[in-house]
Amino acid sequence: MRVLVVDDDGITGEMLENSLGRFGYEVTVAADGKEAFDLIRSGLYRLVVCDWEMPEMSGLELCRQVRQRRWSGYIYVIILTGHGGVGNVVCGLDAGADDYLTKPFQPDELGRRLRVGERVLSLEARDLTIFALAKLAESRDIETGVHLERMREYCRILAEEISKCEEYQDVVDGQYVELIYLTSPLHDIGKVGIPDRVLLKPGRLTREEFEIMKQHTVIGGNTLNAAAMAHPEAEYLLMARDIALTHHERFDGKGYPRGLSGEEIPLCGRIVALADVYDALTSKRIYKPEYSHEIAKAIIMDAEGTQFDPAIVSAFLNRELDFLAVRRQFQMRLAAVG
């Protein structure tokens, strides 16, 4: 991986190049913030080790300028400076640095700090990859638009609300909320395995075709399960698998593919089930018009305890204004795009 070292002291630059090169990094040295900024604009550098005091543009000014712009990916910046003390550290982090080290640098420590930076960058790459994968699967469907974007917002709202319930306090925390936001767009990923004649059929599906369509839950679940087994440390894959497999289960056991009921259905599946249906109801589809929030709410309330978990319906009712706000926000965004 490339690292951009920014230091006006050529000797320090050379020593950093030597150390980081031994750790396997491809190092480029810039002599000041301005030169570094131009190099960062090339898009080649996402890890930066930067001095504070430099001519032309200081390290802090570089941090500020980097944070003010939108980049294709996050830029991770470590300040490496002779300015010690808590006040200076706070100042550096306030300017937008991710980490702060004082000179003289210790190669082992700096190497490990850069690994932390790599981990942060890989998380961003993971999130983007997951969403891109979900969008790719969705692109085969007739109903595209911003369904996934809206749905993950609804899921986040429901999970946040559920976290307040005493019953779920130990299960649903901030990490859970972020995971469901991350993985819920994968709920229909199994549709990539459904033949076009079924997936894209404009009219009503026959019984046999519907049986084929139902298989998208199993295809998605099995695919994500294989990935989860290969990477057991990746917790998000387990949640993604559960969501793909169970988001069409019903609370009364009449759903598919396995007819699970009540709490046999993982919580994430129960949350996504409601979010998915709410978005389908309030969106225009080939076979139905766009229903108002009030109609959708009435349908959901009517299905409380049968299709939906009463606890999730209750969370929906507590946060319906937030659902409306999300819907409006995306309507405005679509109107602005034209």
């Binding site: 002291d9 000797i11 320090t12 050379e14 020593m15 030597n18 001095d51 000179k103 190669p107």
Partner: protein, 124 residues
């Protein structure tokens, strides 16, 4: 009196490459001579921000090459210049020059390090 450069620390920072450490030291000496001239010029002009800037640069480079005596004196000059208290700075610059003289020949330090690393371990 402590060695002007902690060679073990410097070589460790150079990932065990003694030749590279020697090259770095040679460059540091040359750069320090330029910085000392610039520092004295700034003192003559009573340019406190300029003194602080050069002293800070010397401090950072000295820290990286493990020249601790130099680093401490440069840090003292930087602090005084930042506080606009220049009365004591000339004395510290003299001390800095003395430290520089001690850096004239570090080949004995390098040689001792090389022989220490290549000699067989002692019994017991």
């Amino acid at each position: 009196m402590a060695d002007p450069v902690d060679m073990q620390e410097l070589v460790a920072r150079c990932m065990g490459n003694v030749e590279f450490a020697e090259r770095v030291l040679a460059k540091f000496r040359a750069r320090l001579d330029e910085d000392l001239l610039e520092l004295e010029k700034a003192v003559r002009a009573e340019d406190a921000p300029g003194i602080a800037r050069v002293a800070h640069r010397i401090k950072g480079a000295a820290a990286n090459v493990a020249a601790h005596g130099l680093r401490e004196r440069a840090a003292g000059i930087e602090e005084r210049a930042a506080a606009q208290a220049l009365a004591d700075v000339t004395r510290l610059i003299d001390e800095l020059r003395n430290e520089r003289l001690r850096l004239r020949d570090t080949s004995s330090l390098v040689a001792s390090l090389v022989s220490a690393s290549s000699s067989p371990p002692t019994a017991g």
